[in-house]
């Protein structure tokens, strides 16, 4: 029972990291209708930013987090402006290939600057372990869970209650009509990339703390899993990304604990395949009718 609870909690914690990243995928997809496959590499950049901030610039932990958020936000917005904005009228495939190109570009820039050797990432959150009813929860585990819950709550409120959030929903539903309301679609896309990248930066801090070693290709796996989570929950749906991310993390940890560490990824992606066969729009996805 204790083993079960511990697995569940570590699954929730890992899942909440996936959820943070998946939110970036799903929001960008919802607003810009593109799959930003360079999103995972933003995590890698965030992790390196934290390493530089803490070990080389000797900044305190919290400032390092802010630095990582700033670097990723600026990077995300810049990539959007330079690489994706000129392709607004292009076919989706062109944009998709461009995103993959950006992904390789970022990985290779990191390779040039930091080399291929893995680097240790700083442990920014030093929290005491909690023991509840015999279940021991690491500081990083419950810390991740707590912070991501607050962020997701904040994001939900932002999307549902604020003027900007509502405008984002309007753009995601009907760009033409949103423009007729005086909403700038371009500005909305920029803000979406900024938010998505900031969330990825925070995810990178937790990911670095949990997995310690960072290399230029670090972003690929959490990136692809978070993308899976976004599709799993229903791409374009914000609650879907949260649910998909958390479920994916839980399934992964249980597969590791009870079945096989080796097979855990296969099981995770197997679940995705089954979900998509049964419900092609994902768990919370809406049926999209193409307008002409």
């Amino acid at each position: 029972m204790i083993h079960f609870l511990q697995t569940l909690i570590s699954g929730l914690s890992l899942g909440s990291i996936y959820a943070l990243i998946a939110l970036g995928y799903t929001m960008v997809y919802g607003i810009a209708k593109m799959l930003n496959f360079a999103h995972g590499d933003i995590i890698m950049v965030g992790a390196y930013a934290a390493i530089v901030a803490v070990f080389q610039m000797k900044l305190p932990g919290l400032v390092a987090v802010l630095a990582a958020v700033l670097v990723c936000t600026v990077l995300g917005v810049t990539v959007e402006f330079l690489a994706y904005k000129p392709l607004r009228q292009s076919p989706p495939l062109t944009v998709l290939i461009t995103a993959i190109g950006v992904s390789y570009f970022l990985q290779n820039i990191a390779l040039l600057i930091f080399g291929s050797e893995q680097m240790a990432s700083p442990v920014i959150m030093k929290l005491p372990a909690l023991v509840i009813g015999g279940v021991q929860i690491d500081g990083i585990t419950w810390g991740t869970l707590a912070v991501t819950c607050i962020i997701m709550l904040g994001l939900t409120l932002f999307i549902n209650k604020t003027k900007m959030g509502k405008a984002m929903r309007a753009v995601s539903e009907d760009k033409g009509a949103a423009e007729l309301m005086g909403i700038s679609v371009n500005k909305t896309i920029t803000i979406t990339f900024a938010i998505g990248s900031a969330l990825a930066a925070i995810a990178s801090i937790f990911y670095g703390s949990a997995y310690v070693y960072i290399r230029p290709t670090t972003g690929a796996m959490p990136g692809i899993k978070a993308f899976t989570a976004a599709v799993f929950g229903g791409i374009g749906s914000i609650p879907g990304a949260m649910l998909g991310g958390i479920l994916l993390g839980v399934i992964e940890q249980f597969a590791k604990a009870y079945i096989s560490t080796l097979w855990s990824d296969a099981i995770v992606f197997g679940v995705l395949v089954v979900v998509l066969i049964v419900k092609p729009t994902g768990l919370l996805g809406k049926k999209i009718s193409e307008k002409v």
């Binding site: 929903r169 007729l180 309301m181």
Partner: protein, 236 residues
């Protein structure tokens, strides 16, 4: 002499290779109701889309309140006072009625309760359903919502694209009543309609569009008595 609010001069608009609007020119004066009538595919919606910046002409010009808006981006036009209720209503189906109205007031710093109440006064049905998702509304209610949403920004001119389309006759009358009220409250109206008799009865002036060209222009009454219009649009 009323001043010209909207002046469209010789616009040519293409969908790829299809020449959708050919040298279309017309104007709307402050305080008028102007109707554009014509058959399906004549270019009525394209005309409105081009004025509101959803499309741009290859040649020709569009001036609004004396300012050249030919290539102005769509989202910059509502702040200037040009509202467009597009074909098919295009309300935000996944947002509530009230949120839709709030989006109509997006350009305002603050959403005023007074404006909301004003819309609800015109459309009591919307007030009853203000917390409902717009996708659950009937066609007539969605049309009301689209018009209410346009009212929220206090536009100088509102362009209505087929507001009566697909509605029951009693609702059509209601919608036309609202257009009349909007106009009485000081809004200039550019109305696109297939329901030519109703549109002409309401309009100060009207233009007839045929396959992308303006073929006739005149006051509502003149066109209503024109043999050509009678034959083509008023059922003999």
């Amino acid at each position: 002499m009323a001043e010209t609010m909207l002046k469209v001069e010789g616009i040519n608009v293409y969908y790829g290779k299809i020449h959708a609007l050919k040298d279309v020119s017309f104007e709307v004066n402050t305080g008028e109701i102007v109707a554009l009538i014509g058959a399906n595919g004549a270019g009525k919606s394209t005309t409105l889309k081009t004025v509101s910046g959803m499309m741009h002409p290859k040649s020709g010009s569009i001036h609004f309140m004396g300012e050249d808006i030919t290539h102005t981006e769509s989202y910059r036009l509502l702040p200037k006072g040009l509202a467009h209720v597009p074909e098919g209503r295009r309300v935000f189906l996944q947002m509530t009625v009230q949120e839709n109205l709030e989006m109509g007031a997006y350009i305002q710093k603050k959403i005023s309760d007074e404006d909301l109440e004003n819309v609800y006064k015109h459309f009591p049905r919307l007030k009853e359903r203000r917390k409902q998702i717009a996708g659950t509304l009937s066609g007539g209610e969605q049309q009301m919502l689209a018009m209410g949403r346009a009212m929220m920004s206090h536009p100088r001119i509102v362009m209505l694209d087929e507001p009566s389309m697909g509605l029951a006759p009693i609702l059509v009358d209601q919608i036309f009543d609202i257009v009349r009220e909007l106009h009485a409250a000081g809004t200039t109206v550019l109305l696109v309609e297939q329901n030519a008799s109703k549109a002409l009865a309401l309009a100060d002036r009207a233009y007839v569009l045929e396959t992308g060209r303006i073929t006739l222009a005149g006051t509502g009454a003149e066109l209503m008595s024109s043999e050509q219009v009678k034959k083509a649009y008023l059922g003999g």
